[in-house]
Structure formats: C-alpha cells, structure tokens
C-alpha cells in the first residue's frame, strides 16, 4: 500500500500511524542500525574524523560567506563552458523553466536521476500536467514512484520497505513479473525495465552535489550508474540544484566528497563520481548536446538572512542526522510530511514551507544531540531547533526579517505558565514553598497525568526536599 503523507501539519497523526506499524518499525530500525554501523566503520580514527569535519565545516562556511559572488562566478563559468544557466525563486518558476526547455524540444519523456530538489518543486506532478512523463531511475525512487509514493529517506528513498514489500509493489505494477525476494532478481527487474527508458528518453534530469564556481563544473555522486545514464544518453541534460550547493574551488571537492560518502553510507568512495563541465563539444561523439543548470532559491535566501540560520545551508545532504535520530528511527520519513525528513528536515523545512506549517516538527525532538554529533559539516542542529522553537513562539526582533509563520506557535496559556515558572524560579521563597508543599501534598499527585502516565507511573516526590534536608543537617552540625 502506498502511503502518501498529507503534510507536516498532520505530523501527530502520521507519526502515530507509523508507530503502530510493526513492519515499518522493523524496517527502519534494521536500516538505521545498518547505516550507523557503516558510518562507524568509515570513521575509525576519531582524530581524522574531527579534522575532516572541521575542514568541511569551514569550507562550507567560507563558500556561504561568498555565496552571491560565487553564484555569479558559477553562472559566468558555466555559460562560458556552454551550460545554460537559469535562476528560479520558487517551485513555480523552476517548473516553468524546465517546461519551456522540454517544450522547445517537443519532449515527451524525461528520465530522472536522484534529485531531492526536484521533489521540492514536485516536478513529476507538474510535468505530468503538461503531458510530459517523468520517470525515476534511481532504484529506490523507481520503487517509490511505482507506489505513487514519496521518498522516506534522502539517500535511500525506499528504505521503508523490505524485499517482500518491493516484490509486492513490482507484482502490482509490472506486467510479467514473477514475485521473488531475491534482491539480485529484483534489481535486475528494475534494470531491464528502465534500460529501454534510458534509450528512449528525450531529456535526462539530475541533481547536483557540488557546483564548482572556479571551473563551472557540476559534480554528481552515485553508485548505480543511473546518474551517468541520465547525463550521457539523452540529447538534453537538465541539472537542478539549490543555490547553496556552490563551492569556490575544485580543491574544495575531495574533502567534501569523502565526508559525504562516508557519512551517508559508510563508503570510502561511491562507484561513480561525475564532473560535468560542458555539453558535447564539436567533434565529441556522445553526451548531451545541451546542458542546463537551474538554480533554485525556494526559501534559502530567507535562511541566509540570519547568521545563525545560515548554518542550515551548510548541509551536503548525507542523511547521517536522520540515520542517527531516535525519533526518525521510530517513525520513519513519511511521518514528517516534508520533502526532507529527520533532523535536517526539521530545520530547513520552516524556511521552505513556513513555521506555521512546521511548528510541530521543531518540537518533535528530545534534543538528544545525536544528529549534531555526526553532521560532517557540524551544523549544530539541536541549537537550531531550540532557536526555531523560540521563533515559533515570539514575534521577530525589530531588526530581523520575519520568517513565514513566525510566532505561529505562540500560546497564551503556555506563555503564562512560563512566565509563572520564571517568576517562581527567581523568587526562592515562593519556589521553595512550592517545592515544600508539593512534597507535603505528594499523596495528591494524580495517578493519571495525561500523556506522561500512558506508559509510566506518576513521579514519586520525596517527603522532604534537599533544601529541607540540608537545613536540618546544618542545624544538627550547629547543635553539636
């Protein structure tokens, strides 16, 4: 059964549904255990790990600090190389650009490599309206698309399914498929069905992992070879990326690439690393004759305004934060109802979709810090969650640009309670009288404390507070 999430505003219902699905729980736990283990084995030396994370963080920070200049340099160098560069402020503009390219070639089919940005703009859906068929070619994305579903993980899109469930999907949607739980056979099925599509497609679409300003080069990381197919076989290649993916120098690429693959899947290197700097040149015999680059904003400039929130743009989309998140592990990616799930999704989605839609997400973390600990570019995700909680509760500061949905989680009752807390905690007499009476009245603590007691007993107050015991102890010592 395809599970189509409705959106982040229904987070509670979606999370509850996931929690009640034992197969889904098992699939995610198994996958996260595997990925955590792989990452651990890829960073055996903590000193080396520390150094590469520090280096990658500083590379990303430097590149973001020069973002407008680097984007212009990228534009200029790509253009000089023969790559056509387009800029889009939002999903609508990006889809228009891609539709225009497609229509200028009378394209009917587009074969796609993995691109989360294309999910962001709902490209497949928009192109379908124009009669252009978009076909996902990443194995995971292919399975998800057959289901009419969306990816549940940014690196492993079909991670919510086990092999039996993949076989069920194939059986339901593919002609002449004999059910099997042999993974090789399942993959061969995907390969065979997609091969002709690569052959026939009018356009190939891909994402970009790093766009190098210095040389006008688009880098693409992959294992399957579908990225190579999409960027080699069709006559037209369209690459789409968020504006934050630009790096300054070619020499910035090797450390970022290494940190990316080791953090994502624990691989020292992926099977393929593509560096695309131009369309087919005169005399060359293959490769696309047209290459387009679409640079998408879609809320990124909003995050860029604020020095602290700018750190969200350091992300290189490895997925390690979700792989190590105890919440993601329990509820899976669909429950978030956002394109980017997990910890990174919680801090970038408010900029893409507004805080009003995503305010439930920013509270859905115990702030345990596992995400920040593994982030290869050291984004302090827990701190940013805390910051977003503040933004969701309060109007913007006078000099700051408001976020969409700013203060949408403000609650008079809660605000009053917090003011009361602050008042008590800054008035020791009142506070200790409160604590004292709580211990005196401890017999009155209700057995049913709402959500807390659904799986726990009520906390047991001691009959005297530490303050009282120390007072008594000091008195005793004084008496002696």
């Amino acid at each position: 059964m395809g599970h189509v999430p409705a959106g982040p505003e229904l987070f509670h219902a979606q999370a509850n549904a996931a929690l009640k699905d034992p197969q889904l729980r098992q699939n995610f736990r198994g996958a996260m255990d595997y990925l955590q283990d792989k990452r651990k084995n890829a960073f055996v030396d903590p000193v080396e790990e520390d150094k590469i994370r520090t280096l990658c963080e500083s590379i990303r920070k430097r590149c973001l600090s020069k973002l407008p200049e680097l984007l212009e340099q990228l534009d200029a160098n790509c253009t000089r190389n023969g790559i056509q560069v387009h800029w889009a402020q939002n999903d609508k503009e990006a889809n228009n650009i891609i539709a225009n390219i497609a229509q200028s070639h009378k394209a009917r089919t587009m074969i796609k490599g993995k691109s989360m940005v294309s999910e962001e703009i709902e490209l497949n859906h928009e192109m379908a309206k124009l009669g252009i068929e978009c076909l996902e070619s990443d194995m995971g994305e292919y399975i998800v698309q057959l289901d009419g579903d969306k990816p549940s993980h940014i690196i492993m899109p079909a991670i919510h399914k086990n092999k039996q469930e993949v076989s069920d999907t194939f059986e339901k949607h593919l002609d002449d498929f004999t059910p099997t739980v042999d993974v090789d056979e399942l993959i061969q099925t995907g390969r065979t069905r997609l091969r002709q599509k690569f052959h026939d497609a009018d356009i190939g679409l891909s994402g970009v992992n790093f766009a190098v300003a210095e040389t006008g080069t688009l880098c693409l990381v992959e294992n399957e070879g579908n990225g190579r197919m999409c960027t080699t076989v069709p006559k037209v290649h369209i690459a789409i990326t968020g504006i934050e993916k630009v790096v300054e120098f070619l020499s910035d690429v090797p450390p970022l690439y290494s940190a990316l693959t080791r953090s994502a899947t624990g691989q020292a290197i992926t099977t393929y690393f593509n560096m695309i700097s131009s369309p087919r040149k005169r005399g060359e015999l293959d490769g696309p004759v047209e290459v387009h680059l679409v640079l998408l904003d879609n809320g990124r400039t909003q995050a860029y305004q604020d020095e602290e929130m700018r750190k969200t743009l350091q992300c290189i989309r490895c997925g390690a934060c979700m792989n190590h998140c105890p919440v993601y592990t329990r509820i899976g990616g669909h429950a978030y109802g956002t394109v980017y799930p997990g910890p990174i999704g919680k801090i970038i989605s408010p900029h893409l979709m507004g805080l009003d839609n995503t305010k439930e997400l920013v509270t859905a973390s115990s702030l345990c810090g596992a995400c920040g600990e593994v982030c290869p570019v050291r984004i302090p995700i827990p701190e940013m969650l805390q910051r977003l909680r503040t933004e969701a509760k309060n109007p913007p500061k006078p000099d700051a640009m408001p976020m969409k949905g700013q203060a949408s989680a403000a609650s008079t009752l809660e605000s009053l309670a917090m003011k009361g807390f602050a008042f008590a905690a800054t008035n020791p007499n009142l506070y200790h009288r409160g604590a004292w009476s709580a211990t005196k009245l401890r017999g009155l603590v209700p057995n049913n404390m709402g959500p807390w007691t659904q799986c726990r007993t009520s906390p047991k107050l001691a009959n005297k507070t530490l303050h009282q015991l120390i007072k008594a102890r000091n008195k005793q010592a004084g008496d002696k």
Partner: protein, 250 residues
C-alpha cells in the same frame, strides 16, 4: 578538550530541582562524597532551577531571567558542582549561548567555566580514588544525552564505576540512544517518547544487572516510571548514592 583546575578548598553544590524534589538523599550523598575529598561544600539556599524548561521550549527571555538569577548567587570563584549532566550542560554551554553579544557576556563565560558535572569533577578535579567495600554486584548505567554529548561525562562516570573492584559494569544495546525524556518532549510527543522509553527499558532489563544507576534524574523519572508501569523491579538510582554506599560512606 576541557582543561581542569587544581582541586580547590571549597565548592558550591548545585542540587538541581529534580534532585531537590525527587531524590534529596542523592544530594546529601554527593555532599558526603565531596567532603570525603576534603572539600568544604556550600549549598546556596536560594538556588532554584537552571531555567532549562523555558529554554528548550523556546522561552529564551524567561530562561535568561532565571539564569541570571542563579548566576548572581554564586559570587565566590569556587567551582559549581551540578548533580545532573543535563543541567550542567545548560549552565556550562547554553548560558554562554543565551548571553552571547550581551554586555554581561564576559561575566557569564567566567561563570560557565566554573560549572562542572559531579562525576567529571570527582574524576578530573579531585582525582578521586574509590575503594570498593561492597559485595559482588553488577551494574548497568544510563547516561543522559546532554551529559554524554555536551559534557562528555559518560567517560568519567564509567571511570568511577571501573574503580569499584566488586562491581561488574554491564553493557546494554543502544547505550548511547536517548531514553525519550527530553523534558517537554515527553508530553508534547507522548507516543514517540513512549516508543523510545519502551526500547530503552527493554535494553536495560536485558542486561540482568542488579542495579541501574544514572547521574541524571530527568532520565530516571522517565525510565523508573516506565519500569514501574511495566511491573518490572528494576529501578534506577543516582550514581552519587551508589558510590557512597559502595565506599562505605553510608
């Protein structure tokens, strides 16, 4: 890496509101442990709460107000020893962050530098040597996430337990995973929190350890409550009490 000072003559004890209300004996036990190290322990009567509930819920203004009030109480340059890694993390790291750019930033940082979690203080400042006087037993330990990731004290707590000759420290599956407490998280997202604490209690129980210890009462409220709800006998206690008992101080 944090650089630790030489052992002082006096320390402040920061009891934390949870120890105050739920396990005051642990506070007294911590005082005894510190006194055994030849330290004078000062407990400021007016201390209340570090402000973390407001901070993590997005009420920074209120949290800063509470934080300022706490900092004003500890005027002497003595270390402030905190009975929770979570509150310790709040006072050592997040106070810094909250007051960044304020006029008082330098003073705040001086205060933050003086904040230590109990086990890191015992190990790295007191260089404590424990002599185990108890019978053979086995222990499993839960370390709070803040203690682990902000204060790195899973290392020091383990070092303390390893000094006890008759105590076998059991390993649990998914040791570094969060128990699902997270303050208001447990009530705002009760079902996710439930899934987490059910897993945590299962992994702890599976070790068949005789004793569960933790240096953080936030997690213990969660874990103990869940164990009792499930009708299981395992109940966690504060590490300070356990250490004092093992070394015959009690």
């Amino acid at each position: 890496m944090r650089i630790y000072p030489a052992k002082p003559n006096s320390v402040y004890l920061y009891g934390t509101c949870l120890v105050d209300m739920f396990d005051p004996e642990a506070g007294l036990d911590a005082i005894s442990l510190l006194e055994q190290q030849g330290l004078k322990v000062i407990f400021i009567e007016k201390q209340t709460c570090c402000g973390q509930p407001a901070y993590s819920s997005g009420y920074t203004k209120e949290a800063k107000c509470v934080a300022q009030h706490q900092m004003d109480l500890f005027i002497e340059p003595w270390p402030v020893v905190v009975l929770s890694g979570s509150c310790g993390g709040m006072m050592h790291h997040h106070y810094r962050r909250m007051f960044q750019g304020d006029g008082t930033q330098a003073q705040v940082e001086q205060f933050c530098d003086r904040v230590f979690e109990l086990t890191e203080f015992l190990v790295n400042v007191c260089r404590i040597k424990l002599e185990d006087k108890g019978d053979m037993t086995s222990v499993v330990m839960h370390t709070s996430c803040a203690a682990r990731r902000e204060m790195n004290v899973h290392v020091t707590a383990t070092q303390l337990l390893n000094q006890l000759d008759n105590v076998e420290l059991k390993e649990q599956d998914y040791e570094s995973e969060c128990c699902g407490f997270g303050g208001t998280f447990a009530v705002r997202h009760p079902n996710i929190s439930q899934a987490m604490v059910e897993d945590k209690t299962r992994h702890l129980a599976k070790t068949n350890a005789a004793v569960l210890v933790s240096a953080d009462w936030g997690c213990l409220l969660n874990i103990n409550g869940a164990f009792e709800y499930q009708g299981q006998s395992m109940q966690g206690r504060h590490l300070a009490s356990f250490l004092l008992e093992r070394t015959g101080g009690k």
